[in-house]
Structure formats: C-alpha cells, structure tokens
Amino acid sequence: MSAAQIGSPDVARRGSETWRRLLADRWAAIGAVVVVLLVLFAVLAPVLAGIEGQDAYTYHLDALADSGAPLGSGGGMSGRHWFGVEPRTGRDLFAIVAFGARTSLLIGVGATAVAVLLGVAVGVTAGYFGGWYDRLISRGVDVLFGFPSLIFMIAVGAIVPARFPRSSLILLVIGFFGWPPVARVVRGQTLVLRRRTFVVASEAMGAGSVHVLVRQLLPNLGATVIVYATMLVPGMIGAEAALSFLGVGVPPPTPSWGRTIGSAIDWVSTDVMFLLFPGLALFAATLSFNLLGDGLRDALDPRLRGLR
C-alpha cells in the first residue's frame, strides 16, 4: 500500500454516510432541489425567454403608460410579458430575472471559487508549516474578519480603469474578501490532520512537504471545503446583489437582480411586482444555498447541529 492510499477508505466511508444523513434532512433536501431548479433556470434562460418570445434588452414603450408605469395590473403581467415589464423602459421582466440568475450564479460561484482557492492555499500551509508564518496569517485573518469589506468593494470601483471588465472585477473583489473564513477552518482541520498516523507515516517514509500537502492533506480536506464553499455562495450572491443595488456592481444593461431591486425603489408604491420578482428570486437563491449548506455541515458532523 502506498502512502497516498492510507487515508482514503476513511473518506469513502464518511462520504456515503454523509449522503444518507443529507437526504434524511428535509430542509436540506428542499434547499438542494431549489438550487438545482435555479441552476436549470439560469442555464435555460435563453430557451425560456425564447418560449416567451422576449429578451432582456428590447424596449417596449407601447407597454407603458405616459407616467412610465407599466400598463395593466400586476406591473403589466400578460401572456406576452409573464412577469410584466420594467417601468420607464418596458423591458421584459421575466427575461431580466432569468438572465439575472445567470449573473448572480456565475458571480456567486466564481467568487466562491476564488475565495476557496485562496482560503485553502493559505489555510493548509499555515496549519502545516506553523511558526511565524502561521501567526502572521492568523492575525491577518482576524483583521480581515471584522473588516468593513463592503466599503472597500465600493471604493475599488473608483480606481480600476473602465476598460477592465466590471463583472470580472466584482467577482475577483468579492472573492478576495471571502477567503478568511475558509482559511480559518482549513487551518484548524490541517492542525488535526497533520498529527494523524497516515501523515506522520508518510513523513517518516521521507515524503516532502509538497507531497504531504497535496497528496495527504488536501484529499482529506475535500468534504470540509465543499461544505464551506456551499455556505459561502449565498454571501457572495448577496454581495454582488448589494453592490449592484448600490449602483457600483454589474453595469447596465447586463441583467442583475440587485440592480433591478435598486431601480424598484422609485416604483415601490406604484409597481410592487417590479420589486417582488427579482427580490423573491434573490431570496430563494440565498435561502436555498443556506439550507443546503447547513444540511451538508450537519450531515458531515452531526455534533455541530444547531450551531451557526
């Protein structure tokens, strides 16, 4: 048996048990179903908008009254415009919400990937090497944890030249401020793992630190990382929506739930549907990822049930 295989049966056994517990958790299962539906909604956005016969960019001024409010009840809901139209421009709200799901999920998942990559790299090395490097990282994580990151995310918009694509910038910035919790958890796990026999054995057999980090520690961190990644996604989606809501996120005309909610401020008393559709979509997305993340964590470590 090679050194790399010693840890693996452990992981496999824990995996199947995790699945069983996850499926038994009603709320987590509901969360998972909604997440899958959302992903389908986002992937099929062009198809769905095609069935409706609309897109997210064309102005339909004929669907508006002189005041700029949509004609008809429910924000202009009809067979032609399923969710009604946007006030003042008459763009189709269903298409905006559907394509907005793409923006939200892409930036949410992309930023999570950035945060997880950074967090794992920093956390596993800090836990494994220890010493002054670990103390420096831990202190940095402490500082970043309490940081007014939203202020920084808003501010960055002013200094990055306009030719840098905004959406990628938002993704990177949100992801950058998301790594500290991952690093903290991964560091803690690494501290436990590095004392386990399979790591000690591998070191005794002469494995270098790269081998131990990549082949011994990382595979055993997989489950933890997946759980924390899931739990990060709603925060990332929320951050993108908040920035767009404030007018410093994804630039128009790219559809974004947050920006549409921001525009809905002026119409809340006359056209509530304009707020409700993107709002409910955003709420469903964050809630479902939160339920799934909580369920995954409980399934992985039942002792944590009920903690935050």
């Binding site: 202190r139 500082v143 944890f145 309490g146 940081f147 007014p148 990151s149 939203l150 202020i151 920084f152 808003i154 501010a155 918009g157 002013a158 200094i159 990055v160 030249p161 709603p234 929320g238 929506a241 908040a242 809501f245 404030l246 007018g247 410093v248 909610i261 921001g262 809905a264 401020i265 809340v268 008393s269 509530v272 707020l275 709002g279 955003l282 709420f283 964050t286 809630l287 939160n290 339920l291 909580d294 009920g306 903690l307 935050r308």
Partner: protein, 330 residues
C-alpha cells in the same frame, strides 16, 4: 499588572494593524493607473499645468513619501501647495477633496451622524432581539415557539436588508401610513422626529442581523444549560429564571460579544445599504458619489477612515471581552 500588560499588548497590536492596513490600502489605491491630477487639471490640459496640479496635490512625490505625508496629516494636519494659494487641512486630516474643495474629514463628519444613528440604534435593537429570542428558544426547546423563532432566523439570515426594507416601506409607509419612509432629521434638531424617521431603518437592519445572534445564543445556551454548575444551581433550589438569567446568560454573552466585534464591519456596510433604501445622505451616499465622480482623495479618505474606525472599535471590544471573561486577559 497582568491587566495592564494585556491592555498594553492589545494597544500595540492595534497600532501595528492600523499601520499595515493603511499602508496596504494606500499602496493599492496609488499603484492602480488612475491620475487624480489629470481629472482636476482642467482644459486644455498642458503638460505644464498637469505637473503643477500634481505638485500641488503632492502626487509628484514617491508613493512612500505620499503615504508618510498622509499619516502626518492625520496627526498634525498638512498643507497643499504653498504661498497664497495654499490650502490647509487641519488634523486629523484624511486628505483633501479637490473636487468639492473641502477637507475629507469635514465631509465625513458632516455625514457621520446619519450613518451612526442608523448603525448604533440597529445594533442595540438586534442584540436585545437576538439574545432574548435565542434564550427563549433554548429554554422552550422543541416547542412551537422554538421552531418558529428558528425558522424566522434562517429566513432572516437569507433575506437581503434592502429587500426587507423596501417591503417594510411599502407596508408601513405607503399602505398603513404609519411611519415616514425617507429623510433624516438631526437629533439636535428634534429628537422625537429623529427617532421617528429611524424606526423603520432600525427594525429592518435589526431583524436581519438578530437572526444570527438568535441562533448563536440558542446553541450556546443549550450547551451551557447542560453544564454541571447549572445542575448545582438548580439543585440548591434557585428559581429557573435566576439559573438561566444569572448563571446561564453570563457565559452565553462571551461568544455573543466576540461575534458582535466581528460584525461591526458588516454593521457599517448594512448601514450604508439602509441609507440608500431610505434615501438618507450618510457616509455611504458620500462614498458612492465620490466613486461615480472619481474623487480619489475622498474615496481613499473614507475607506481608510472606516477601516480605522472598525479596527479601533474591534480593539475596544477586545478589551471589553477581557472585562467580561477574566480568563481572556490572563
């Protein structure tokens, strides 16, 4: 003596963190290719007038000199330019907005009352709400009350503040006509109107953040209620409210204070979003306008000011933590 060393160590660490954070922020903001002098150079912008503008703003110096000048300005104030045209920026100087012709500190101080009014009121409300809901849930564990409170808590964690805020405006402002939906009245002007205009923002921000505290308090309280000293307290015949209130709550508050310290940065962010929902002109509005106008000194000033504020507040929470839990200061 021990306490003195704990305090001294914390203060020293805080100063170090302030220096590192400000240096990194300054570096990031000045290495990226944007030139504030270019923006205020005017038209036609000759190389000579650009150079003059740069020298006047202090951007002709190497970045480390600029940073030191910035730090010096915070403690001792600084002047831009020389002679009759010189502009003085009194300490604590967080830079000078050449677009608005005003020191950044003065601009920030003008907006702070709005943001702080939202943030502090909401924080008080959410701590009260969160801790009492958590304790209630833990004591009545498994009952309908517990399950309802925890369901609301999961929903609250997922609901964006601005969405809840807008729905609250619609319901309580437009439909029921109970409370004002926007605007800010200064506390010094009319305290009743001040609170009246802030009721809705406070509740919105508090309900959402209270959720996390309710979950934490509940979990912690359940843990603590299983401890031996709680059994002892019950065994010696103390009344239940006293057991929970005195022996339980004290130990629950430690993680709650820790979490609160970590959430201060989020609180500021939440206040910025709430300002926008309720059309109040606070720090967030100032920053967003500065970003749109590319008023770089103002952006940097606000960013560093908020970072300083949060780091100092965190240090204060750390010291408070030492007071609640003597073990931490040991």
């Amino acid at each position: 003596m021990r306490t003195a060393r704990f305090v001294a160590g914390r203060v020293l660490a805080t100063v170090l963190v302030l220096l590192i954070v400000s240096a990194l922020t300054y570096l990031v903001f000045y290495l990226l290719p944007s030139d504030p002098a270019q923006l205020s150079c005017g038209r036609p912008c000759t190389p000579a007038s650009l150079a003059t503008a740069r020298a006047f703003m202090g951007y002709d110096e190497p970045v480390w000199r600029q940073y030191l000048a910035f730090l010096g300005g915070i403690f001792a104030g600084r002047s831009y330019g020389s002679g009759v045209a010189a502009i003085h920026c009194a300490a604590p100087c967080f830079g000078y907005s050449f677009q608005l012709n005003a020191p950044v500190t003065q601009l920030i101080l003008g907006r702070i009352p709005v943001t702080f009014s939202i943030a502090i009121g909401a924080a008080v409300l959410w701590l009260l709400l969160g801790v009492s809901a958590g304790v209630g849930s833990a004591v009545k564990r498994g009952t309908l009350l517990d399950r309802a409170a925890m369901a609301v808590a999961v929903g609250g964690v997922s609901a964006p503040a601005y969405l809840v805020g807008l729905l609250a405006i619609l319901l309580f402002g437009f439909t029921l006509n109970m409370v004002p939906v926007n605007g800010y009245v200064a506390l010094t002007e009319n305290p009743v109107q001040w609170a009246w205009h802030l009721v809705l923002p406070w509740c919105v921000l508090a309900v959402i953040s209270a959720a996390v505290y309710a979950r934490l308090t509940r979990a912690q309280m359940l843990d603590v209620l299983g401890e031996d000293y709680i059994r002892t307290a019950r065994a010696k015949g103390l009344r239940e409210w006293r057991v929970v209130g005195r022996h339980g709550l004290r130990n629950v508050l430690i993680p709650v204070v820790t979490l609160f310290g970590l959430d201060l940065g989020q609180l500021l962010g939440g206040a910025v979003i709430t300002e926008r929902v309720f059309s109040m002109q606070g720090l967030g509005a100032l920053l967003i306008d500065a970003v749109h106008n590319l008023d770089l000194p103002l952006v940097v000033g606000i960013t560093l000011f908020s970072a300083f504020l949060i780091i100092l507040a965190n240090a204060a929470v750390d010291l408070l933590y030492g007071a609640i839990d003597p073990r931490a200061a040991a």
